[in-house]
């Protein structure tokens, strides 16, 4: 039995039930992280295609939907695995409840993944004309090759709400005040820009210098503004009692403190300085390192921000 003096004004819980711990854990973190990559590469890819010639962006037409396809499927897989009744996921489509951001998000993400899959098929077959020459499906897809450019604007338009709808789910989570809608919306968008540019850095070896410079600049700006928002929330969130109690899990040291600052260093501070340096004097190896730390840092930051609000007692 621990002995300590309790202040006269304090109240102490002397009997209660066990409190639930982390309900949305690493699978939801992975879900958000993978979705940011899946949508981010489309958004950044679209920007690069708008700014530069296709010839300057070798392979982007099929590699962009390929990266997006892989990470969107990781996102969808872990969304499903995290459900306590995964086989009932179908209920979202046959009994949709449209006030729920989960429902709206599931519909949009499914449509988005379908369109990205089509873009991948067209892009890949166009880039590899000798592949599956005699396949009936491949022939049909090659016939609609021009659809790629028609679908693309819709995919880019859809990428924005697919990126941000998780912020609305968090905003609908009334019990967790830390997840405020305006801040999370912007953070989700910046996260997509961060990891979208970071992922594309790995395939930019043969691109023009200007295109790589654009990627570097996007990475630097997105990590800078995202870092600024985290710092704002970390240092100046004293308006709400609940947010203060939540942030205390990071302020007071311990594993969440370590995780948060590791995330800030890896995901934001290191890539920012490397990117700024690379804008003046390009260093491709260092930029790949910055891209890697960005991906790791964002996962850690998302994990911290997802878990700490679940630690406070609600009743």
């Amino acid at each position: 039995m621990e002995h300590s003096v309790i202040e006269a004004t304090k109240a102490v819980v002397t009997l209660d039930v066990a409190l639930p711990g982390i309900i949305w854990g690493w699978m939801i973190t992975l879900n958000m992280w993978a979705k940011s990559i899946g949508t981010g590469v489309i958004l950044i890819g679209a920007f690069l295609l708008y700014r530069h010639k296709k010839e300057d962006l070798v392979g982007l037409r099929w590699k962009m939907p390929l990266i997006s396809f892989i990470f969107l499927n990781i996102f969808l897989l872990f969304t499903l695995l995290d459900l306590h009744q995964p086989l009932r996921m179908i209920n979202i489509f046959i009994h949709p409840h449209w006030t729920s951001a989960i429902t709206v998000g599931a519909w949009m993400a499914s449509l988005f993944t379908g369109l990205v899959t089509l873009m991948l098929a067209i892009g890949f077959l166009d880039a590899h004309p000798d592949t599956a020459r005699h396949s009936g499906i491949a022939k049909s897809i090659r016939k609609i090759s021009s659809s790629y450019e028609k679908i693309f604007p819709f995919v880019v338009f859809l990428a924005l709400p697919v990126t941000m709808y998780t912020a609305i789910i968090m905003a609908e989570s009334s019990a967790r005040e830390l997840w405020a809608a305006p801040a999370e919306l912007i953070q989700m968008l910046l996260a997509a820009f961060m990891v979208g540019s970071a992922s594309l850095i790995f395939i930019s070896e043969k691109w023009s210098v200007e295109a790589r410079k654009d990627l570097t600049l996007i990475l630097a700006l997105s990590v800078f503004f995202s870092f600024l928002m985290y710092m704002g929330e970390y240092f100046f969130s004293f308006k709400s009692e609940e947010i203060e109690a939540t942030i205390a899990y990071v302020h007071s040291g311990g594993s969440y403190n370590l995780q948060f600052w590791s995330a800030m260093a890896l995901g934001y501070i290191i890539p920012f300085f490397i990117a700024m340096g690379s804008l003046k004097d390009e260093n491709r190896t260092l930029m790949k390192f910055a891209a890697l730390t960005t991906l790791i840092g964002l996962y850690l930051a998302k994990s911290t921000w997802l878990e700490i609000p679940q630690m406070i007692p609600l009743s």
């Binding site: 300590s4 003096v5 979202i92 009334s174 007692p313």
Partner: protein, 252 residues
């Protein structure tokens, strides 16, 4: 008709009769609670007092759980009750994230969300909720708050100025009221959970909710990595000494 609940905390003596009645009536599994009575001690010895706060779903008029539920498993009944349809629930736990009162749990047997329904099945048959019947001091008052002549409406009128709801700032418009409560009993951030001060057991954080092996991934990895010892049997095996490792985080 809008059904509401009122607990007079000045009458409640913490007997937990309501808690037990609820468990039995609704067959609530081990480690889960639809209704619980929390003990809170205030003051320093010898000037101390013990307060009892029964906690259950608030059946909010603007229920965040109903809004976030992607499949309408949580839905309103015409009498104002926020009901659960377990057969539709997909187990996303969105409602658990949304409920500001922590009133929803994941049933470890059905792997679906569940909570207090004001014993909707009993009300349909013209009976009072089980907790109301069990209360020996009639601290639980239940009825139609839209009917000015009902017991609950008259009780609210008689105690004007002393009727509170939990977390009114959340704009959930709860239909569960307390008489004789205060910040220290109704605000979870106003009291501490100090390790070692558990009266009958250590207050712990559960590592996970309900069935810890709920996911498909866990079912694949379980045979390889082994499941954590968190089934109901673990409550029997739990060492009852000071060295027992607790997950309680002090000072919140």
């Amino acid at each position: 008709m809008k059904l509401g609940f009122l607990v007079d905390l000045s009458l409640c003596m913490g007997c937990k009769g309501c808690e037990v009645a609820c468990k039995v009536e609704n067959e609530v599994p081990l480690s889960s609670w639809r209704l619980r009575v929390k003990y809170i001690d205030v003051g320093t010895f010898p000037d101390t007092s013990r307060n009892f706060t029964p906690l259950r779903c608030n059946h909010c008029e603007n229920a965040p759980c109903e809004r976030i539920c992607p499949v309408s498993a949580l839905h309103y009944l015409p009498n104002g009750i926020v009901n659960v349809d377990n057969s539709r629930c997909i187990g996303c736990a969105g409602c658990m994230m949304a409920c500001p009162y922590g009133a929803i749990y994941m049933d470890p047997e059905t792997n679906t969300a569940d909570k207090c329904t004001y014993c909707a099945h009993r009300i349909e048959g013209g009976l009072m909720p089980a907790c109301v019947v069990a209360c020996p001091v009639e601290a639980n008052i239940f009825g139609d708050i839209e009917d000015e002549t009902s017991h609950i409406s008259r009780y609210i009128m008689e105690h004007q100025g002393n009727v509170q709801v939990r977390k009114p700032e959340k704009h959930t418009n709860p239909k569960h009221f307390y008489v004789g409560g205060g910040n220290q009993t109704l605000n979870p951030l106003a009291h501490e959970r100090i390790e070692g001060y558990g009266l009958f057991n250590n207050i712990t954080h559960l590592d996970t909710l309900g069935d810890p092996h709920h996911s498909i991934l866990d079912r694949f990895t379980g045979p390889i990595f082994g499941h954590k010892h968190l089934d109901n049997k673990s409550f029997i095996d739990m060492p009852n000494d000071d060295n027992h490792e607790s997950h309680e985080e002090g000072g919140h």
